[in-house]
């Protein structure tokens, strides 16, 4: 499960020298959350806030907001000798024309060589019209907004040393002070987003609320995670619990032994249940309500692999996978995504599904898997807005290549190719996916709805 190559070239020595001479990838050690010191420090150095001229007022507001998190905030690109930037925030919310990006782009360029390892570049911009949207935006404004997308994705590909570039995309009526704008900005700045790179995350409304304690935003929340016994699911359980949630872990009865140890570790509850059962959602809801009084967060994580080229695929392999990976979440959502089922007076509903970059880009040998995972994305988009009245959201996370027991079954060469096919030149860890899910589950993500957040190290496939 470990990337031996990354370990070899990650430490000073002949292997590192050789890799450098041959121009081979030299993946950096990513900055990840220390469970004993969550979000401290939030960034590995001071934060520079840049903007275009038209967005200065918003940039001031953003800078003030960063100060409230005790960050060392600068508006000027000069730094003392040998100091390195922990993050650069680009405020482009009122960008009038693609040409107006020049000044802040050049300023950003001038500091890229003085970024700290694991630094962050985060843009704040406004939504460009989508393919099927009618808009009354001036073409120049639309061009400017769409341009930010290409700009940020390209910056991400130029960064080194575990630094990432991501963007928050605000709907027209969303203020830069909105909880989810602050929440998304903080997520991208923090170690929590270690393996999220080159992504633009949309904030569709001003909904949501800032948590009382940013380090434990899920305090009082009751969550269920399916497929909790191993891999990504087990890590989702741990991160949700670390962030303060009560967690109910579900897995098939046969996985009960490992489910037990995962759930006891976080003082949670184990439920041995096959999610393809007709009454799975009702039973989960029943257990959660009797123990915690309510259920707030549902993480549809359970999934199986039945890889075969389509020419060799049996109906059984196709159908088994479909039943677990997409039919079960669809059926369970008939219960969970009904208004009034999830959430309580002080907690908001969240439904989060595990999609996959295979579902976005397609993957040889995974027609069944990609059908299911892309299906979950469709389901997520269809459910967008359905829980808005209760402050709820429905989102998906799409992991790229993650180092798990499941991906350890991929043959060595394709596995290394998958790792190197991302901007971060490595596979992610289950905790990286878990962090993204915990963020989407948090109260500060209440304005993010119907979105798919990729956790792929900017894998060079798909959108």
């Amino acid at each position: 499960m470990s990337d031996t190559y990354a370990k070899l070239v990650g430490a000073p020595g002949p292997a590192q020298q050789l890799a450098k001479k041959l121009g081979l990838p030299r993946p950096a050690r990513l900055r990840r959350t220390d469970p004993t010191s969550v979000d401290r420090p939030l960034t590995p150095g001071p934060v520079l806030v840049l903007s275009d001229d038209a967005s200065t007022a918003d940039a001031d507001t953003v800078a003030e907001g960063l100060l409230a998190w005790d960050l060392d905030v600068h508006r000027d690109a000069r730094l003392p000798d040998h100091a390195r930037w922990g993050a650069v925030v680009l405020v482009l919310t009122e960008l009038p024309h693609p040409a107006a990006l020049s000044a802040p782009a050049m300023q950003l360029g001038s500091v890229l060589r003085s970024l700290a390892p694991g630094a962050r570049v985060v843009s704040l911009s406004r939504r460009a019209p989508g393919p099927d949207a009618t808009t009354n935006l001036a073409p120049a404004v639309a061009a400017a907004r769409a341009g930010v997308d290409g700009f940020v994705r390209s910056v991400a590909k130029e960064l080194r040393n575990g630094a990432t570039a991501n963007g928050v995309v605000l709907a027209d009526d969303v203020d830069v002070r909105a909880p989810s704008v602050r929440g998304a900005l903080r997520f991208f700045l923090s170690a929590r987003s270690a393996f999220v790179d080159g992504q633009l995350l949309a904030v569709v409304s001003g909904a949501g609320s800032e948590p009382a304690d940013w380090a434990r935003p899920l305090t009082g929340v009751a969550a269920v995670v399916t497929g909790a016994a191993r891999g990504i699911g087990a890590e989702v359980v741990r991160v949700l619990a670390r962030d303060g949630a009560h967690v109910l872990g579900v897995d098939v009865p046969a996985a009960g032994e490992s489910l037990t140890s995962v759930m006891n570790e976080v003082h949670g509850v184990a439920l041995q249940l096959d999610i393809t059962a007709e009454d799975a959602a009702a039973r989960i809801l029943d257990v959660a309500r009797s123990r915690y009084g309510h259920l707030d967060v549902v993480v549809h994580n359970a999934g199986i692999l039945r890889d075969k080229l389509l020419a060799n695929m049996s109906a059984e392999k196709f159908d088994d996978l479909t039943a677990v990976n997409v039919t079960a979440p669809l059926r369970m959502n008939e219960t969970f995504a009904r208004p009034g089922v999830l959430g309580s007076a002080s907690t908001a509903p969240r439904v989060i599904s595990l999609a996959s970059t295979s579902g976005i880009a397609g993957n040889r040998g995974q027609t069944n898997y990609a059908n299911a995972k892309a299906g979950l994305i469709g389901m997520t988009r269809a459910l967008a807005g359905s829980l808005t009245d209760a402050g709820g959201t429905v989102n998906a996370v799409a992991p790229g290549f993650i180092e798990t027991e499941m991906t350890a079954s991929v043959p060595p060469v394709p596995r290394q190719v998958m790792r190197w096919a991302s901007s971060l030149q490595q596979g992610g860890r289950p905790v990286d996916v878990a962090e993204a899910i915990a963020f989407l589950a948090s109260p500060q993500a209440g304005g993010i709805d119907g979105q798919v957040l990729r956790v792929c190290g900017q894998l060079q496939t798909g959108q």
């Binding site: 009865p253 009960g256 032994e257 006891n264 041995q272 123990r291």
Partner: protein
């Protein structure tokens, strides 16, 4: 004969909140490398996870093992210390042969009923694979002498007394110390006395396998079991067995006690319980504790009764205690044998169950042995061991009580209202026979 103590003012009834066990393994198989502590910890950890008890302090944990290493003198407390429970949870060991698990549950239930505890766990574990090997008596004495010796010559003298033959280990014995007969040989005597046929025994064994397999199929054990060491079902379960297959097996017990004129030996490996490894635990509490935690109660403990028979003099069969404890329990609670929706009689041997039922239904037995007007009553066979019992599941001695209590509590919870007494909660009766002519019985009622 057992005289029923006068009931005191009924205390609170302990609630059975849930149970957990690991699948039972065949001796020397899946759990060959697991100790009693390993298995009991696995069963307890599964229970803790199911009910979200990690980090919590319980008032009592009671459990035991029949075959126990001397190093495991504090087995249950050591198990708690190795679990996710708060280390301030007290624990004690219990032993009453095969009645150990049920006796541990009775103890915890009584503490709860008296208000001495709010929540506790009762259970048991046994390993036929990891049995202690005993050294010969001469070697043991020599070693003790050597350890007491103060000088080197004294020590050498003690060792010098050891002879090569003393080094051979003494194999664990399942014989009754007072009769030298194995449990199977004892049961064979009873089997012959009650005229229990080979066919009836094989039919009961078949039902045990069929019923247990059906219970697995419908997911009955999904919330009663945590898989362990790759085992997800009881290893002794033969879902595909048949009367024909069972009929082919040669008798293993009864040959030694059979007489030329008496009935032929009938007890085979198919209708006798296999040696097994496993562990089980049951979570008990007051109703208040369960309500506070939002945990539904499956059943309540109504009453319990132990008894013993004098098998040494041959007055009664070794495993016939149930025929005495059950009537005593019925008399005290004012219940009839026909009042139970489920009857769970531990299948030490198929013939044990059949002889116990025959005795309870026998007028002469009722009059001469129990001093009653007639038979104790009748047991509807369709209510007996409905999800199988030890013949199919296996019988890790001290783990059987917890297996049966968990199973019966869930059955009663599913049934809810009694079929035999409409309008009242369903009731169940448990009887677990044990070495030394003992038995432990218990009545549960749906919550």
């Amino acid at each position: 004969m057992t005289s029923a103590p006068t009931p005191q003012t009924p205390a609170k009834r302990a609630a059975i909140v849930g149970a957990n066990r690991i699948p039972f393994g065949k001796a020397g198989s899946a759990y060959a490398g697991a100790s009693n502590k390993d298995m009991l910890t696995a069963a307890l950890e599964g229970l803790v996870a199911r009910f979200g008890l990690a980090g919590e302090r319980l008032d009592e944990v009671a459990a035991g093992a029949v075959v126990k290493h001397s190093r495991d003198f504090n087995l249950t407390r050591e198990t708690v210390l190795g679990s996710s429970l708060d280390h301030h949870t007290p624990a004690y060991d219990v032993q009453r042969a095969c009645g150990t698990g049920l006796e541990a549950i009775v103890g915890v239930a009584n503490k709860i009923a008296l208000g001495q505890a709010q929540v506790g766990v009762g259970g048991g574990v046994d390993s036929a694979s990891d049995a202690p090997v005993v050294v010969s008596e001469r070697l043991r004495k020599a070693l003790l002498r050597a350890s007491r010796a103060k000088t080197l010559p004294d020590r050498l003298k003690a060792f010098a007394a050891i002879r090569p033959r003393d080094l051979a280990p003494v194999a664990p014995d399942v014989a009754e110390p007072r009769t030298g007969l194995s449990m199977g040989e004892h049961q064979a005597l009873t089997t012959a006395r009650w005229g229990i046929t080979r066919e009836a025994q094989d039919a009961l064994a078949l039902a045990s396998h069929t019923n247990l397999a059906a219970a697995y199929e419908r997911g009955f054990f999904d919330d009663l079991m945590t898989p362990y060491r790759r085992l997800t079902r009881d290893e002794s379960l033969r879902a595909d067995t048949s009367m024909e297959k069972l009929a082919k097996l040669k008798p293993v017990f009864g040959a030694r006690t059979a007489t030329p004129e008496g009935p032929a030996a009938t007890m085979t490996a198919g209708n006798s319980t296999p040696l097994s490894d496993g562990a089980s635990v049951v979570l008990l509490s007051s109703d208040e504790w369960a309500t506070q935690r939002g945990l539904p109660v499956l059943a309540h403990v109504v009453d319990a009764q132990a008894a013993a028979v004098d098998f040494v003099a041959g007055e009664e069969g070794l495993l016939m205690g149930g025929a005495y404890a059950i009537p005593a329990l019925l008399d005290r609670t004012g219940m009839r044998l026909e009042d139970f929706d489920y009857v769970e009689i531990h299948e030490a041997f198929a013939a044990t169950v059949l002889a116990t039922v025959a005795a309870l239904e026998d007028e002469d037995f009722g009059r001469t042995r129990l001093g009653r007007d007639g038979a104790v009553g009748t047991i509807d066979r369709s209510r007996l061991n409905v999800t199988g019992s030890s013949l199919a599941a296996g019988h890790p001695f001290a783990a059987t009580g917890g297996r049966i209590v968990g199973t019966l509590a869930k059955l009663l919870h599913e049934r809810d209202e009694s079929e035999v007494r409409p309008g009242s909660p369903a009731r169940g009766l448990i009887s677990v026979c044990a070495a030394g002519g003992q038995v432990v019985t218990m009545i549960l009622e749906a919550a």
